[in-house]
């Protein structure tokens, strides 16, 4: 299986505003979000990036999606550098995160056409794909409803569909089931499996153990911006529940850092 994603020793530090320092309860002006992270993901696999809140999952995925640049190190998607070939990388990936919002004023129909145009999808392909995806997620029932009038679940489904209008081979989803009701979460999980069956490579970040156990082939556990462990799921768990494995690793990492749990 060929390597579709290679992350090489990326580091990212943010400067905190006074307000953020208060929220983070930190005296330091700097926050190391990702600290020398390296891992690989392979074609046709679902890679799960697992970690607690603030571990650096979203920052890592934002770097992969070219929204932000690493301070040092680099990542390569299908051989393209996210730092130096960001325009090319964006053509290859579909990215979904809760921070990406859709304009309230527009309808799913318009937004699908708009983003398809930006991705250079032909009208014929666009119409076929729209019909398939809208039906798959039940968006055809509210295709002419403005985003402003949609529920959170409807918005999340639409965001997911918009992120893959161009049928990308590499899909990066940040917490795809976060805040969703169980039915919508299942629709999303099932769809991720379908995408994998189609041969797509998927990278998901999550803090939900069951999601990783259900869909991921490979898992990377990230704690405090560092990769604690990264391997095939069964190699990491070795028959134990992922939750237990995670807490053992978490405790070991914290004890190594001299922190008391």
């Amino acid at each position: 299986m060929s390597e579709i994603l290679k992350v090489e020793n990326i580091k990212k530090t943010f400067i905190l505003s006074a307000k953020q320092q208060k929220i983070e309860k930190s005296n330091s002006k700097y926050k190391v979000a990702v600290n020398g992270l390296s891992f690989s993901a392979y074609e046709g696999e679902i890679f799960g990036l697992l970690g607690p809140n603030g571990a650096g999952k979203t920052t890592t995925l934002r770097i992969l999606a070219t929204l932000i640049k690493p301070d040092s190190g680099d990542a390569f998607i299908d051989g393209l550098s996210v730092s130096k070939q960001s325009d090319e990388v964006r053509k290859k990936i579909g990215f979904l995160t809760s921070e990406l919002k859709l304009e309230d004023f527009f309808t799913p129909n318009y937004l699908f056409d708009f983003f398809s145009e930006l991705h250079g999808v032909s009208v014929e392909d666009r119409e076929k794909r729209k019909e398939y995806l809208f039906k798959r997620f039940g968006i055809d029932k509210f295709a002419e409803v403005k985003v402003a009038n949609m529920s959170t679940g409807m918005k999340q489904k639409l965001s997911l569909v918009i992120s893959i209008v161009h049928n990308p081979n590499i899909i990066i989803f940040d917490e795809p089931t976060n805040g969703l009701d169980v039915l919508t979460a299942k629709t999303v999980t099932d769809f991720l499996k379908e995408l994998k069956e189609e041969g797509k490579s998927i990278i998901v970040s999550t803090h939900i153990f069951s999601l990783v156990e259900k869909i991921c082939d490979r898992v990377g556990i990230i704690i405090d911006g560092k990769m604690a462990v990264c391997d095939k799921l069964n190699a990491v768990t070795n028959g134990r529940p992922l939750e237990d494995v995670f807490f053992d690793i978490y405790a070991a990492m914290k004890s190594e850092a001299g922190e008391i749990l």
């Binding site: 953020q20 919002k101 930006l118």
Partner: protein, 395 residues
């Protein structure tokens, strides 16, 4: 290029399909300006002019018959009532209470006194006519002005040594076209600059800072669109919308000016300008709107919210107003070609030149091209800002 058109289409759709935006940005500015200026014009007229059919009642004490016959009786809509000395205080009270328009008190033996008065004799005091009125009552103020003017005329006939511009000859040799040009060149550049800027302010912060605040611009930034295409698309679309908003305000002003300025605008007609003037003006307007939108877009991209953008734009608004007003005072440097390289100031000066029929084609061309060049530079800066995570994702 295709992506630029896609962004332009989206911005237009966002604007023109939103009836609230169309109403507040395109219709209301022009309509409100027209209504407010017209109302102000009507209000000012009624403040300084009494009704045409109003009969002014002026009480007079000891008015010489000669003055009455030759001057006062000639006045239309005036009724003069002779009173005795003991009524004077009562009439003054009535004037204070706005019951009576005016009271004129002549000194005793007025005609004899003025005939014997010699201003060259040291210590001689001139006879004093007292006119009591109430300036807060329009009719009283008007009656006072008429009586003063009448007495001035009477006084000038007594010691008339020479006249200036007597007779019905036209002594002001300025043509109506020149008068129109002077008036428009002082007034319109300022109004156009301010209205264009207001139009830009109405749309750019919402489109850029608003998208940033709502997180929708990040969705655009993960697509393969180039940052420069996004910047150009936004600036072109917003420029058109801002221009339409500016035109709305401008039309409201132009249509209400005759009501606001009344008789001082009589005979003025914007048809004194030819097609060439209008084409030059259009070029200046378009290039100015581009530069204004670009500046506001950069400020909006820097701001974290629409509210912050609106606050940060205020100093620029003041600069634009000063540049607009400069057309009234900077005529002495208007021939200096270098001023046409100064953004915003060049637009104001070039427009002033066109309106006063003194447009220099070279200055207009420099203005348009330098504005376009500055706009291109600003678009490059905006594209770089769209690429900066510190600016686009700062919290």
């Amino acid at each position: 290029m295709k992506n630029i058109l896609t962004i332009i289409k989206k911005e237009f759709l966002r604007f023109f399909k939103d009836s609230r935006m169309v109403l507040t940005t395109l219709i209301l500015p022009g309509l409100l300006i027209y209504l407010i200026y017209s109302f102000m014009g009507d209000g000012l007229t009624s403040l300084f002019e009494a009704d045409d059919n109003y009969i002014y009642t002026v009480y007079v004490y000891d008015m010489p018959e000669e003055l009455n016959e030759n001057y006062f009786k000639q006045l239309k809509n005036f009724k003069f009532v002779e009173i005795s000395e003991n009524e004077i205080e009562n009439i003054k009270t009535s004037i204070e209470d706005k019951q009576v328009d005016c009271l004129v008190v002549f000194p005793k033996d007025f005609m004899e006194t003025i005939n014997s008065y010699d201003s060259t004799v040291s210590g001689a005091v001139a006879p004093n006519v007292e006119i009591f009125y109430n300036s807060t009552k329009t009719e009283s103020q008007s009656a006072y002005s008429t009586v003063v003017s009448l007495l001035d005329t009477f006084e000038s006939t007594m010691s008339n040594k020479f006249d200036i511009n007597a007779g019905g000859l036209q002594h002001d040799l300025a043509s109506q076209k020149d008068v129109t040009g002077q008036m428009f060149s002082m007034l319109l550049p300022m109004l156009i600059m301010i209205f264009m800027f207001s139009g830009c302010m109405a749309v750019a912060p919402e489109s850029i800072a608003g998208e940033k605040e709502r997180g929708t611009i990040a969705t655009l930034l993960v697509t393969p669109i180039k940052r420069s295409e996004l910047a150009i698309g936004k600036i072109l679309a917003l420029s058109v919308i801002a221009l339409l908003s500016g035109i709305s305000s401008f039309l409201g002003t132009i249509l209400s000016l005759p009501k606001l300025y009344g008789s001082s605008m009589e005979g003025m007609d914007i048809s004194v300008y030819n097609v060439g003037d209008y084409l030059m003006l259009l070029g200046i307007l378009l290039s100015s709107v581009l530069i204004m939108i670009s500046l506001i877009s950069i400020i909006s991209a820097y701001a974290k919210s629409v509210k912050e953008a609106s606050t940060l734009i205020m100093p620029l608004m003041i600069i634009v107003m000063i540049m607009g007003v400069s057309s009234m005072f900077a005529s002495t440097i208007a021939d200096n070609v270098f001023i046409y390289f100064i953004p915003l100031f060049n637009s104001s000066q070039a427009m002033s030149g066109i309106f006063s029929f003194n447009a220099n084609i070279l200055n207009v061309v420099i203005t348009i091209f330098s504005n376009i060049l500055y706009s291109v530079l600003l678009v490059v800066i905006l594209a770089k800002m769209f690429n900066s995570e510190k600016i686009m994702f700062s919290k």
